[in-house]
C-alpha cells in the first residue's frame, strides 16, 4: 500500500503494510542515549546533596539528543503516514479471548498495564514518605532542630499563595487556579478526542468535510493539552497576576527540591512561631510525580501533532478511525492518572 519502498528487503507485506525496514528504532535509541548521557554531564549533585553543579556546555548536546529522538519519530511517521486502515491486523480467529480483536488495541491495553505500574510505583514512593515523615503541622510549637526533615505538601504552598492575594475567589485559593483549569482542560480534551473518533466514524459526511471536522477536534485536544503544560509552567515557575487574581509560583514560594532551610511560619498572635525545616523530600516527590504526568501529556501532544497533520491531509475516515481510538485509550489513561495525582498532591 505504501509507496515509499525505497529501502525494502523481502516481501514483508503481511501485516501493517508499512515498509518493513526502518531507521526509526536505531535513531530513537541513539537519541535517548545521547540525551541521558549529556543530561548527566550537565548536572552533577554537589557534595552536600543539597544542590547541583551545573555545567552549561553539555546541555545543548542533551537537547540535540531530544532532536535526534524527534528525527527518529519523523522517520517513523513518514512510514505510517500512508496507513489507511485497510490492513489493520487482527487477532487470529480462535485465539481466545481475543478472537478477531484488533492487535493494536490489545497492544495498547497491555501498554497501559505497564503505565499503571509506573504510576503505582510513584504513588508507592509518595505513600512511603508521606506516612513516615512527620508533617510540619504536627511539629508546630515543639522545639525542632533547624533543618529537620518534615512534610509541607504542595497544597500548603498553593493555599498560602491564595493568602498573598487575600483569595479573590473566596471558595479556593488563587494559586489553585492553574491546577483547576488543568483538571478541566484534561477532562474536556478526553471529550474532544472521543468526538474526533465519533466524527471520523461518520459515513453521512463528505470525506473532505469529515476530515476538517476530525482535524478540528484533534486540534482542540492538542490545544487543551498544550494549555495544560503552559498552566503547569505558570504554576511551577512563573506565577500570575491578572486583575484581582494573583498568585506566586511554587518556585518563588521556595517550594524547591533544594530548600533544606525553609522558614515555616505558623499560627497567629500569641501562638505564632517559626521553624527552619527541610522540605526537599515533599518537593522531590511532588515534582517527580507531576513531572512524570507532564511528560506523558507532552508525549500525547507530540502524537496529537502528527495526528492533526494526518487528519488535515484526510488520513482518517470510517476505515481508519481506530488509530484515534487507540490514542484515545492512552489519553484517557493520562486523564485518569491526573484525576489521582491532582487530589493527592494539590488538595491533600
Amino acid at each position: 500500500m505504501s509507496d515509499d519502498h525505497g529501502y525494502h528487503h523481502g516481501p514483508h507485506e503481511w501485516s501493517h503494510g508499512a515498509p518493513h525496514n526502518s531507521w526509526a528504532p536505531i535513531i530513537i535509541s541513539i537519541g535517548s542515549g545521547v540525551f541521558l548521557f549529556f543530561f548527566a554531564k550537565a548536572f552533577t549533585m554537589n557534595e552536600g546533596m543539597n544542590g547541583y553543579i551545573y555545567d552549561s556546555a553539555p546541555l545543548p548536546l542533551a537537547i540535540a539528543g531530544l532532536a535526534i529522538i524527534f528525527a527518529g519519530l519523523i522517520s517513523w511517521w513518514k512510514q505510517d503516514f500512508s496507513f489507511d486502515g485497510s490492513y489493520e491486523p487482527q487477532a487470529t480467529h480462535g485465539s481466545t479471548p481475543f478472537s478477531n480483536v484488533d492487535i493494536r488495541k490489545v497492544g495498547m491495553w497491555v501498554f497501559l498495564m505497564s503505565e499503571m505500574m509506573i504510576f503505582s510505583s510513584l504513588f508507592a514512593t509518595y505513600i512511603r514518605y508521606r506516612t513516615s515523615i512527620d508533617s510540619c503541622y504536627s511539629l508546630e510549637g515543639t522545639v525542632v532542630e533547624p533543618g529537620t526533615a518534615c512534610w509541607l505538601p504542595a497544597s500548603y504552598f498553593i493555599a498560602k499563595g491564595g493568602e498573598h492575594a487575600h483569595s479573590t475567589l473566596g471558595f479556593m485559593p488563587d494559586a489553585l487556579v492553574p491546577g483547576a483549569i488543568n483538571t478541566f482542560a484534561l477532562i474536556i480534551s478526553s471529550y474532544t478526542i472521543v468526538m474526533a473518533l465519533k466524527t471520523a466514524k461518520r459515513t453521512d459526511l463528505e470525506h473532505a468535510e469529515r476530515s476538517i471536522k476530525v482535524r478540528n477536534y484533534l486540534g482542540a485536544t492538542f490545544c487543551l493539552a498544550t494549555l495544560f503544560l503552559v498552566m503547569k509552567m505558570i504554576e511551577w515557575f512563573i506565577g500570575f497576576h491578572i486583575g484581582p487574581f494573583e498568585a506566586p509560583s511554587l518556585l518563588s514560594d521556595q517550594f524547591t527540591i533544594h530548600n533544606d532551610a525553609y522558614t515555616y511560619n505558623y499560627g497567629h498572635g500569641a501562638e505564632a512561631g517559626a521553624m527552619t525545616v527541610d522540605i526537599r523530600m515533599a518537593a522531590s516527590i511532588f515534582y517527580l510525580t507531576t513531572g512524570t504526568h507532564g511528560v506523558h501529556v507532552f508525549a500525547g501532544i507530540v502524537g496529537l501533532g502528527y495526528m492533526v497533520v494526518k487528519a488535515h491531509k484526510g488520513g482518517y475516515g470510517p476505515g481508519n478511525s481506530v488509530s484515534i481510538e487507540y490514542f484515545g485509550l492512552y489519553w484517557h489513561f493520562v486523564d485518569l492518572a491526573w484525576v489521582a495525582v491532582f487530589p493527592a498532591f494539590y488538595l491533600y
Binding site: A40, T96, V110, S132, I257, S284, L288
Partner: protein, 779 residues
C-alpha cells in the same frame, strides 16, 4: 585440504590481531574532568591550564623534594599554589582553592582535617577548601620511581562554574634507589575496557579484510551498504533475533573476562591485583552485564527466533517496536559502561543498594543508572510485543493449552518482567535524579529511606531472576521431550507450574531483606511463600525425569546440556531452600554460600539452558549442523570445570568468606582465631576455583568456535534434524522470510482427548462467538 589451510592461516591472523590489540591498549591514565566531587564552585579542569597559577610541592620544612627517596621513609609534604583568582581575596567568597594529588607509588596520608583520600587520591576536604596550602604525609615505596602529580584550582569563589576559574598541574618525579624510569599506572578497568573496545574494532577491521581478500572485485561500498543498512534497519524477527545473539554473546564474553579478573584477585589471600575501587566496579559490572546484557538478550534472541515459528505467526505483531527493543540494548550498554573510560565505573553492586548508589563519588554510577533506564524501556517494549503476539497471533487450532512449552515459558517470563520492571524503572529514575539534579529520594539527611529502594528493586529483582531462568525451563522441556522421543510428561501440570512460578515470584521478594530488620511476622510469611516456590519447580523436575523415564533418550549435545541442567539446577534449588529459613539466612547472608547458590541457578540453570538451546536450534537458525564432537567436548570440560568453580564456594561460604569483599586473610594456624580471618584451606579452595574458572571460561570458546566454524563449513541441516514436532520444524532451515508462506493449522493428534475442565470452562466463558465454538473445544 587447501581450504582448511587457508582457514587456519586466517584464524591465526585474527588471533594475532587480537593479541596486538591487547598490547596496544592504552597505558596512560585517564582522568575525570574535574578534580573531585568535593569542589563546590568550579568545573575545574574543563579548559586549558593557566600559567598564572603556579603549583608546587615542597617538604614541609621548605626545602625541595629530594631527588631520591629513602625506601619506606615518610616525608611531610607542603602542597601549595599561588596566583589566579583565589588571590583576589574578596570577602564572603568561599571555596577558593582546591587540589588533587596522585602518587604513582607509596602512600599518601592526610594529617589534618583539611585533606582526605578519595578514590585513592589525596584531595582537600570541605574544611580545606579555602586554603592555598595543605600538609600531608607521603610514605615512600620500597622501590621504583614515583611520580607525584598535583593539580590545583584557583577559584574566584562565587559558587558557580565561571570562566574566571583557573587551574594548573605539575608533576614531580622522585627516583628510588635503582633510579629506573618512572611509569604511570593505568587504571585496570580503563585498560580492560579500552582493550575490549579496541579488540572489537580491530576484529571488525579484520573481518572486513577477510571479505576483501575473498573477493576484491566486488568489495565496494555499494555492495556493503545494503548489507549494513539491512542489519541496522531490519525489523524481521529472525534478523533482530540474530542481532540479539551477537550482542548477547559479546557481553557474555565481557562479563566472563570481568569474572576472570575477580578470580585472579581472589586467588590468593591479601592479593592486590585489583585495587578496592576496581574490585567494586568489577563485581558490579560483572553482575549487571551478565544479567541485563548477556542473559536477557540471549533469551530475547531465542524468543525472537523461535516463538513466532512455534505459534505459527509470520512475525511478531509490532516488528518496529521489536527492533527498537533491540537497539535500546546496545545504546543502554554503552551508556551503562561509559563510566569505565574515566576509570570511575559504577561501584554499587548490581543491586544498586541505597544510599551508596545516590552518593558514591564514582561518576560511572550515574551512567550505570541511565543505561539501565534504557534497558527498562527495552524490556517494556519486548513485553508488549511478546504478550500481544502470543495472545493474538497463534495459528488456528492452537489454544492456550496447545502452545509449545517454550512459548509458554516465554509468555510467563515476559509477563513477570513486564509487570515488575516499571517499578525498577521508577527507582532508577529517582536515583538518577538524585545524582543529577539532587532530588532527595534516597538522601538520608532529608528523610530518604534506603529500604524503599530495596522494595522497588526486589519487587522487580526477584521476578527478574525467574525471568531469566523460566525460559531455560521451556528450552529444557522442548529438548528433553524431543530427545526422549515422546511428548512431555504432564503438559498441563507443566503449564500450571510455570504460571505458579510466575505468580509466586511476586510475593517472595521479602527474603532478600530478611536481615533488614523487618517484622518477624512478615519474615515468617515470606519464609512460607519462598518455600512455596519449590513446589512448582519440583513438579517440573519430576515431569522431566518422568518424560525421560517413559521415553528412549538420544544423547545429543543439547540432551547432555539438558541433563547437566537437571543436576545443577536441582542442586541450586536445594541450596536455595536454605535461605527462606530465617535463622539459616541470617547466618549465611552475604557469604559465598549465596554466591554459590545463585550461580548454580543462573549458570547451571539459565546458561546451561541457553547452551542447550544453542545446540538444539542452531540447525534451524543457520541451516547448518553443529559439530557434535566439539559440542560434547564443550559439555564435558564445561560441566566439570563449572562444578569445580561453584561447588567449593558453598564450603567457602560456610567457612565464613564474605562476598563483595576485595580480599580475605587467612589464619596463621588453627589456634589463632582472629575475627574475620579464614582457615588456611580457604586459600587453597580459592586457588582451585580460579583455575577451574579459567578452564570454564576457555571451554566456552569451544562453543563460539563451533558456532562460527559450523556456520561457515557445517553440514547442511534438514528441516527437522532432531525429530521435533512443533511448528518451527515445519519450515525449512533456515526459515524463509516471511517465516510461513501459509499459516499452518494445528491438528489434534488425539481427537478423543477432551480438554480439561478448567480449559473447557474458560473457553466457554471467553469465546464470544458461539458459531464454531463446539468444534474448537474439541481440539
Amino acid at each position: 585440504m587447501q581450504l582448511r589451510n587457508v582457514w587456519t592461516v586466517r584464524a591465526m591472523v585474527i588471533v594475532a590481531v587480537l593479541f596486538a590489540a591487547l598490547m596496544f591498549s592504552p597505558e596512560h591514565e585517564a582522568r575525570p574532568s574535574g578534580i573531585s566531587s568535593v569542589d563546590s564552585g568550579c568545573s575545574c579542569h574543563s579548559g586549558t591550564p593557566s600559567s598564572q597559577v603556579v603549583a608546587s610541592i615542597t617538604l614541609a620544612n621548605g626545602s625541595a623534594l629530594p631527588e631520591n627517596y629513602e625506601p619506606g621513609a615518610t616525608y611531610a609534604l607542603l602542597i601549595s599554589f599561588s596566583g589566579g583568582p583565589a588571590e583576589d581575596n574578596i570577602p564572603e567568597r568561599v571555596n577558593t582553592g582546591g587540589f588533587n594529588l596522585v602518587a604513582s607509588k607509596g602512600t599518601l596520608t592526610p594529617i589534618d582535617n583539611t585533606t582526605q583520600i578519595l578514590a585513592g587520591e589525596l584531595t582537600h576536604t570541605d574544611a580545606g577548601n579555602d586554603q592555598q596550602a595543605w600538609n600531608a604525609d607521603w610514605t615512600a615505596p620500597t622501590s621504583g620511581s614515583t611520580v607525584l602529580r598535583l593539580m590545583v584550582n584557583s577559584v574566584n569563589g562565587d559558587n558557580s562554574a565561571s570562566s574566571d576559574d583557573q587551574w594548573n598541574t605539575v608533576s614531580y618525579t622522585v627516583s628510588g634507589a635503582g633510579g629506573e624510569a618512572p611509569t604511570m599506572q593505568a587504571n585496570g578497568l580503563t585498560v580492560l575496557f579500552s582493550g575490549i573496545l579496541l579488540t572489537a574494532i580491530l576484529f571488525a577491521l579484520a573481518l572486513t579484510y577477510v571479505f576483501y581478500v575473498r573477493d576484491p572485485e566486488s568489495f565496494s561500498w555499494k555492495r556493503f551498504q545494503p548489507w549494513i543498512s539491512h542489519w541496522l534497519t531490519s525489523t524481521d524477527h529472525k534478523s533482530v533475533g540474530t542481532l540479539y545473539f551477537v550482542s548477547g554473546l559479546f557481553f557474555l564474553g565481557v562479563g566472563g573476562i570481568l569474572a576472570m579478573m575477580i578470580r585472579i584477585q581472589l586467588s590468593s589471600p591479601g592479593n592486590d591485583f585489583l585495587t578496592k575501587d576496581e574490585y567494586n566496579s568489577f563485581f558490579t559490572l560483572h553482575g549487571t552485564v551478565m544479567i541485563f546484557l548477556a542473559a536477557m538478550p540471549l533469551i530475547n534472541g531465542f524468543a525472537n527466533w523461535i516463538v513466532p515459528l512455534q505459534i505459527g505467526a509470520k512475525d511478531l505483531c509490532f516488528p518496529r517496536l521489536n527492533a527498537m527493543s533491540f537497539w535500546l540494548q546496545p545504546v543502554g550498554a554503552i551508556l551503562l559502561l561509559s563510566g569505565m573510560f574515566s576509570g570511575m565505573g559504577a561501584d554499587v553492586g548490581w543491586t544498586g543498594y541505597q544510599p551508596i548508589t545516590s552518593t558514591t563519588d564514582h561518576y560511572g554510577a550515574t551512567f550505570w543508572l541511565a543505561g539501565q533506564v534504557l534497558l527498562v524501556a527495552s524490556s517494556t517494549l519486548t513485553g508488549i510485543n511478546f504478550i500481544v503476539t502470543i495472545a493474538t497471533m497463534r495459528a488456528p487450532g492452537m489454544g492456550w493449552m496447545q502452545m509449545p512449552l517454550f512459548t509458554w515459558s516465554i509468555l510467563v517470563s515476559v509477563m513477570m518482567l513486564f509487570i515488575s520492571i516499571p517499578t525498577f524503572g521508577i527507582g532508577l529514575i529517582e536515583a538518577y535524579l538524585d545524582r543529577t539534579i539532587s532530588t532527595t529520594f534516597y538522601n538520608t539527611s532529608a528523610g530518604g529511606d534506603p529500604l524503599l529502594w530495596s522494595h522497588l528493586f526486589w519487587y522487580f529483582g526477584h521476578p527478574e531472576v525467574y525471568v531469566v531462568v523460566v525460559p531455560a525451563f521451556g528450552v529444557i522441556s522442548e529438548v528433553i521431550a524431543t530427545s526422549a522421543r515422546r511428548t512431555i510428561f504432564g503438559y498441563r501440570s507443566m503449564v500450571y507450574a510455570l504460571a505458579g512460578i510466575g505468580f509466586v515470584a511476586f510475593i517472595v521478594y521479602g527474603h532478600h531483606m530478611l536481615t533488614s530488620g523487618m517484622s518477624p511476622l512478615l519474615r515468617f510469611v515470606v519464609m512460607l511463600t519462598t518455600m512455596l516456590v519449590a513446589v512448582p519447580t519440583g513438579i517440573k523436575i519430576f515431569n522431566w525425569l518422568k518424560t525421560m523415564h517413559g521415553g528412549s533418550l538420544v544423547y545429543r549435545t543439547h540432551t547432555l546440556w539438558a541433563l547437566g541442567f537437571l543436576v545443577t539446577f536441582t542442586l541450586g534449588g536445594i541450596s536455595g531452600m536454605f535461605f527462606p529459613a530465617i535463622a539459616m539466612d541470617v547466618h549465611l547472608h552475604e557469604t559465598y554460600f549465596v554466591v554459590a547458590h545463585f550461580h548454580y541457578v543462573l549458570v547451571g540453570g539459565t546458561v546451561f539452558g541457553l547452551f542447550a538451546a544453542f545446540y538444539y536450534w542452531y540447525p534451524k537458525i543457520t541451516g547448518r549442523m553443529m559439530s557434535e564432537r566439539l559440542g560434547i567436548l564443550h559439555f564435558l570440560i564445561g560441566f566439570i570445570s563449572y562444578n569445580g568453580v561453584f561447588w567449593p564456594m558453598h564450603k567457602l561460604g560456610l567457612l565464613g568468606m564474605t562476598r563483595r569483599h576485595h580480599t580475605y586473610y587467612i589464619r596463621a594456624d588453627e589456634y589463632s582465631d582472629i575475627i574475620g580471618t579464614l582457615p588456611p584451606e580457604a586459600a587453597q579452595w580459592n586457588q582451585f576455583i580460579t583455575v577451574c574458572a579459567f578452564i570454564f571460561f576457555l571451554s566456552n570458546l569451544i562453543m563460539v568456535y563451533n558456532i562460527i566454524a559450523s556456520w561457515l563449513n557445517g553440514r547442511k541441516a534438514p528441516a527437522d534434524p532432531w525429530g521435533g514436532w512443533s511448528f518451527e520444524w515445519l519450515v525449512s532451515s533456515p526459515p524463509p522470510t516471511p517465516s510461513f508462506d501459509e499459516i499452518p493449522t494445528l491438528e489434534n493428534a488425539n481427537p478423543d482427548h477432551a480438554p480439561g475442565r478448567l480449559t473447557g470452562m474458560l473457553e466457554r466463558i471467553m469465546t464470544p462467538d458461539s458459531g464454531d465454538e463446539g468444534e474448537e473445544a474439541g481440539h
